[in-house]
Amino acid sequence: MVSVRRVVLDILKPHQPNALEFSRAIAEIGVDYRVRLTVLEVDEDTETIQVEVQGSAIDFEMIESTITSIGGSLHSIDEVEVQSEAD
């Protein structure tokens, strides 16, 4: 079985919801998710953020869907850490 342990995402989002609410929404997806959000650039209506998610088994599709539902747009997956384990 292969588990995704860490992903670093490049996201464009509106100013609202703010960084705290955005991180919380992602963290709420999993029971042991640890989210680290960094604002890279702030424009008039948007901001570019880097989000790092760590967990024992990250559900990437769910994270992507949550990002879209709160108004963000996933631009790229910048880093991934995946671990293979015996079933």
Partner: protein, 194 residues
């Protein structure tokens, strides 16, 4: 997410919670002053039947409610649509299925409900003594005077609410709005009292 939490979230991301508060006070004040004006007008007129006064006031209350509902919906829907379009342009993506799209659909409805309900509910509260009297329940004073007192009290309370928003003296703010009501009554006496 609970409904209340969802509503607060949508108001926050569209930064419209202050608009809801402002509409509540502005249109609530409208309702209270309109009822005050109508009731003083009836007091100064030849004695009309209580049911006539109630129907006239109720008609005005419903009209105020509908006016508040429709005008706020039309204007807010246009504003939210414009804001969403601007955001979609900046994001270069379709936000219809996101929280922002949901907010653009629901926030105008919520604001319209507050804008319509505020004058309607305040007007209905002012009319309570008139209904009680027409139902045969004895009141310590004339129903029209009792309605005026309730109107003045509600106007004072709206001022208190404004004072709390602005974080200034609630008493001073309440007295300021009360002064507006007293001036309105004085003007009605001046122009309609002859």
């Amino acid at each position: 997410m609970s409904l209340l939490h969802q509503v607060r979230f949508l108001l926050r991301i569209t930064r419209t919670h202050d608009i809801v508060r402002r509409y509540f006070v502005v249109n609530g004040f409208d309702g209270a002053l309109t009822m005050l004006g109508l009731i003083i007008g009836f007091l100064l007129s030849t004695s009309a039947d209580l049911s006539v006064i109630i129907n006239a006031c109720l008609g005005a209350a419903i009209a105020l409610g509908m006016s508040g509902l429709s005008s706020a919906y039309v204007s807010e829907a246009a504003e939210r649509k414009r804001a969403l379009g601007k955001l979609e342009g900046a994001m270069v993506t379709d936000l219809q299925e996101s929280a922002h799209g949901e907010a653009a659909r629901l926030v105008p409805l919520l604001i319209a409900l507050v804008n319509g309900a505020a004058p309607l509910i305040i007007s209905l509260l002012i009319l309570i003594p008139l209904w009680l009297s027409s139902a045969g329940i004895p009141l310590p004073l004339s129903p029209l005077y009792a309605a005026i007192i309730i109107a003045l009290l509600l106007i004072f309370l709206l001022g208190v609410f404004l004072g709390r928003i602005a974080d200034i003296s609630w008493l001073r703010s309440g007295l300021q709005t009360l002064l507006v009501a007293v001036m309105t009554a004085a003007l009605i006496y001046l122009f309609a009292g002859h």
